[in-house]
Amino acid sequence: MTKRRPPTAHALGVGVALALSTLATSAAAASSLDQLRIRALAATCAQCHGTDGRAVPGSAMVGLAGMDRHHLQSQLLAFRAGTRSATIMHQIMRGYSPEQIEAISVYFSQLRP
């Protein structure tokens, strides 16, 4: 009968490293997944306001990239509440929750114009 060997330092190290690596990978995946979700949500604005909120230069449409987060959020909420008049945006913003509006505002504020 062989004596059970205690875990070697090497084996333990690899085990912990693997565990940490798995943790790191799943955290990165979760973060990438979140990024994908928010990008896809923000992409619902792009048909009119340009890819990643960069409107075609010279077009009569507001670019959203780099806009102040709180300004953007307050304007979108005002469209939603009907306190800022609009031709279309009040109809669009009523389709988004306050949480989605916040997420969109944070996203565009972090992009360079």
Partner: protein, 425 residues
Amino acid sequence: MQRRTIIKGLGAAGAAATLGGCASVGGTASKGRVVVVGGGWGGTTAAKYTRLFSANTVDVTLVEPNRQFVSCPISNLVLGGMRTMADITHSYDGLVRNHGVRLVHDTVTVVDRGRKEVRLAGGQTLKYDKLVLSPGIDFMWDHTPGLQTANAAGQVLHAWRPGAETAALRQQLETMPDGGTYAITIPLAPYRCPPGPYERACTVAAYLRRHKPRSKVLVIDENPDVTSKPGLFKAAWRDLYPNMVEYRPLHRVVSVDGATRTVNFEVHEPVRADVLNVLPAMRAGRLAVDTGLANANDRWCHTHFLTFESTAASDIHVLGDAIQIAPGMPKSGHMANSHAKVAAAAIISMFNGWPVNPHPKLTNVCFSFLDETHAVHIASVHEYNTAERTFRTVAGSGGVSDMRNDLQGIHTWAWAQNIWSDMLT
């Protein structure tokens, strides 16, 4: 000793993670192969956003026979003489240059679902992990005896795909005598671009009012009423084109005689026109039908709305006008663009083994010109309903214009510039 080994191990894991990250950003490690068929509103968006959303880690090949993109939206302005074919014709180069999409100008002849490959008319075979079909519409010529012959002879055009027919129909309008009649017939919904036929009546009437003011415009509809923005269109016909535009609902076309430019109806008297513009009944693009994906009434393609994957075949996603629509979902270019973004995100999630977004969203805006400058719109926001497994418009969202104005005309052109860019550059 133990401690040092752990740190060493951590270092190795960290280095590996960093390398992995770099490889992803650089696009050297391919996560999968996507072949997109059809360079229209859905296909171009799917190609671009699959690259964007994956940080260029997914290989994308776009197959499209045409060398240039021609826009169906705005093409009614070409018919009215307000814009030219050059204004609605754009390059595909941005997809290649800016996003690394591989562009193949060819036609897919066969989709081999078993081998997961498509074969091209030019002889090439492309393997895919995910196939995205955005095949647009096909015309059901058999529904209307005489129509296909008349169309082939250039006597009766539809111009419901942009390009040569758009230019040809414009030419027919230019040579029509003052005092002549332009008639457009509209098939039963669903068809591509619900407000399109009524907008066309307006832009053609705007041209005729200015250049051939004794002419008539007949809008002959199989539907019981104008299918989109009825109040706004009828007000425009009444106010802007009194005694010129006439609307006739509930007219089912049964046949067409190209030589005399006559259209026959099930019940009503035949109509002879100087320019006869018959919109054929429509179904999903031919490749979708041939691939066995048109499982909704043998016309449209059912999809799982979280991913736009066909219900008839796994790993084939169908976008745009070809799909069986959800309630309140129009067959529009804007909507096809929206489909494509949801599908692109879903495909990337599937490649990564991530859960697919359970709450995808779609937007739609359809603008319509009523004359040279005034426009109206209809807008909607759609969210996935888990219980019903379909998209529904968000309660309280969306709506139509209060009135026509030139601000919306300006917005229409800005929308076109931005959505073309969102697809192509």
